[in-house]
Structure formats: C-alpha cells, structure tokens
C-alpha cells in the first residue's frame, strides 16, 4: 500500500504521458481516418482501392509490428526522432484504419434516401458528403468512435516496450524496485487504466442508448 502512495507522482507522470500519447495519436488518426473513409466511398476507383488496401493491411498486422517498423526501420532510413514521436507515428498509422472503418460504418448507417434527395437537388459528391451525409453520420458514429478511442488508450501500453515512459512502463519500473509489493503496484496500475477506460465505456453506451431511443 505504501509502495503505491509513496510513488503516486510516478503514476501521475506516467498517466500524463499516456494521455498525451492518446490525445495526439487519437487526433491524427481521427482526421486521417475520416479522410481515408471519404476516399473509400469516393467515385474514383483508384482511391477506393488504395483506401481498402491500407485498411486491410493495417488491420491484419499486429500493432507490435507497426511499432517495429516505426522504431527500428525508420532509424535505418536515417530518420531519428524521439521514442515518443515513433510511438505517435505507430499508433496513428494503426488506428487510422480503425477510425476509418468506424466512420465508414456511420456513413453507411445514414438512410439512403438522404443521399438520393441530395443528388436529386443537384448536389455533387463533395457537397452531398459534407452538407448532408457527414453531419448525420456524426451522430451514430460517436459511440463506435469512443470504442476505438478506448482501444487506443489500451494500445498505448505497447509503447512501454519501445522506450516511452508512460503509465505501464513506470509501473513496471516500480514493480521491479518494490519487489515485495508487486501486486499492490500492478493493482494500482489497473485502477489508473480503469479510471480512463470505464468512464469512456459508460459514456459510449449512454450515448448509444440515447441515439437508439431517438431514432
């Protein structure tokens, strides 16, 4: 117990890095994922094919391998960045595919009549998407997006194996230092992660129930 309370600052710093990692990688991949989703439903066959290829490759690759490519292969090409930046790159590349699929599912959930009406009054693809489809898709897409975000929070733990001093990495160091209180140290780490993931999960299911009720 005291092993946890005495080292609270270490946990909090780790938590801050975990949050920062989530925030940056989450914003980048949400943006890139939305663009990729637009490419996957566009009238241009090559863009559709390229988007589908990216999603299929990344979704079938373990995130650990994506980290390998960011942390071990990029330096081989003469790109030297901090461990944190490599982790952001790996998480963003990987989660772009998942955000893309969540957004695409949301777009597919919009009633077809909306798109047909938009086309009937003469809107082009870009206008249909930006003014009619996306604003409505945003509603049904929020719960799945939160679920992807929760997966992202959990995946940031992998960065601990690649030199980033986030929550799990700090906890591991603590567990090695306080070898007679390993269970306390790791148990407290669980609590910190649950502090992030459980409220997010509750928010997702609350929004989902609300949206289902409305429609």
């Amino acid at each position: 117990m005291s092993a946890v309370l005495d080292n609270l600052p270490i946990y909090v710093t780790g938590l801050a890095w975990t949050l920062l990692l989530t925030l940056i990688a989450g914003s980048v991949s949400l943006l890139a994922g939305t663009l990729l989703a637009a490419a996957r439903i566009s009238p241009v066959p090559l863009l559709r094919a390229g988007g589908a290829l990216y999603v299929h490759v990344l979704r079938n690759t373990p995130i650990t391998i994506v980290f390998f490519f960011a942390a071990f292969v990029l330096p081989q090409l003469g790109i030297s960045l901090s461990y944190f930046t490599f982790a952001v790159i790996a998480l963003s590349l990987y989660y772009t595919a998942f955000f893309c699929e969540a957004v695409r599912a949301g777009i597919n959930a919009v009633s077809p009549g909306q798109a047909e009406a938009a086309r009937a009054i003469g809107l082009g693809f870009g206008q249909t998407l930006c003014h009619v489809i996306l604003p409505q898709a945003l509603r049904s897409v929020v719960p799945p997006l939160i679920n992807v975000l929760i997966a992202l929070i959990k995946s940031t733990a992998v960065a601990s194996a690649f030199g980033v001093a986030e929550l799990l990495s700090n906890a591991e160091a603590l567990a090695n230092a306080e070898s007679n209180a390993v269970l306390w140290v790791l148990g407290a780490t669980c609590l910190f992660y649950l502090l992030l993931t459980v409220p997010a999960g509750l928010l997702a299911s609350y929004l989902e129930a609300k949206l289902v009720f409305n429609s």
């Binding site: 996957r40 081989q76 090409l77 047909e116 249909t128 601990s160 567990a175 790791l186 669980c190």
Partner: protein, 265 residues
Amino acid sequence: MSATLLFDHPGPRARRRVWLFNVIALVAAALLAAGCLYALHQRGQLAGELWRVVLDGDFLALIGDGLLATLKVAGLGMALSVLVGLALMAGLMSRRRWVRLPVRGWMEVFRGLPLLLMIFFVYLGAPALGFELSTFWSLVIGITLYNSAVLGEIFRAGVVSVHRGQREGGLAIGLTQAQVLRIVLLPQAVRRMLPVLVSQLVIILKETSLGFVIGYTELLREGRTAVEYLGGQYSIPVYTAMAVAYIALNLVLSGIAGWLERRLR
C-alpha cells in the same frame, strides 16, 4: 447503403473527371512509391543480398519455429478464451442477481485493461504469490483473461439477438434454462456472431506478438533475434517478411470463416 448511392452513374463529364482523378491518384501513388524506393536505394536497402535472406534455409527454419510457437499460443488462447467466454456468458444470462452482477463486474474490469498489463500482472504477480509461470503460460493466461471477457459480451449479444419465441418455445416443451441456452439459443446465435467472433480470433492471433515483450520466443522475437544477429541493415527485409506472415495467417483465418459461414447458411 452502398457506396454508389452517394453519387450518380457518371455521365460523360463526370467520367472524364473520374478518369482525371484516377490519373492524379495513380501519379501520386507512383511518385510516393518511387520516392520510397529511391530513399531505400540511397541507403543501399535494395541490395539483392539483403532481400535474399528471406529465402535462406536457416532463416526460414528460425521463422518456422517462431510460427509454430505463435500458433501454439494462439490456438490454446483461442480455445480457452472461447470456453471461458461461454462460461461468462452463461453467468450473465443467469436469473440470479448474485451470479449476474459479479460476472458483469469481472467482465467490465478485464475489458477495460490493456492486455500487456494483464500479461505483466500474471508474469510478475505469480512469483509474488509463490509460484513461477513460464512466459508461455503467462501469455496464454493474459490473453484468455482479456479475450474471454470480450467474447463473453459477443456471445451474450448473439444469444439476445435470437428471437425470444425460440427461448419460450424451448421452455414450453420442458427444457431447463441451461438446456434452452445450449440446445436452442447457442446454435442459432453462433451463425449470427460468426463474423464478429472471427475478427476477435484474428485479434487474438495478432495479440500473441505481445509475447515478444516478456521474452516468449514467438514469430516476432525470432525475427528480432535474426536482425540482431545479421545486423540492422537487414531489418526491412526481415520485418516485411514478418508482416507478410501475419497478414497471410489472418487471411487464412478469415478465409476459413467465410467458407464456414457459407456452409452454415
């Protein structure tokens, strides 16, 4: 809604525009590929001898061992996760609150934690409780703890989606709750949840690569060992081979699922 609903069948002008965008996308992709290849060439990464390593006998033997170790963890992890997941689902469907609530709490906790933390918990926590666990079992138990909670929720959603007349009919002909679940509801639910189930099994296969972190010698760790032995300049060919191996494995898994799905229909 299919993608084609978002745009009309293209007329002559739109066809020209689509064609133009196709060319632009092609040129952009070609430029990107050429840039990457040039950057690789500049650093001598395209040299034939670097890439020939993926066909080398010793390397292939190493990868074969790694693949086998990966498949062992994945197979055992999948089987245990499905079994425990079914048990958790049965607990969730129980009519007794004192069974249902703890099971729900257990699942919420284990779904909300990073898998890597759970693997560490098992690996580092077991000695604190006075017994040693191998990296293999730490990995399997960690994977099972996490994925059984996820699968339990998938199973529950599947069973709930079966029309309630099926359950009532089963009860009416005198089956017990457990029998209804096993004989009537589950067989029908399995067909519906097969796609989600398989994508979760693919996730399990991918997660075995976390074994590399605690030092279990699976596919990825063997690749890392090969690179450490051969030298850093070999990292691109070796890791590309690893990625291809995982993607191929997952495609095989998805292919089997697709075949199974067609047969069940």
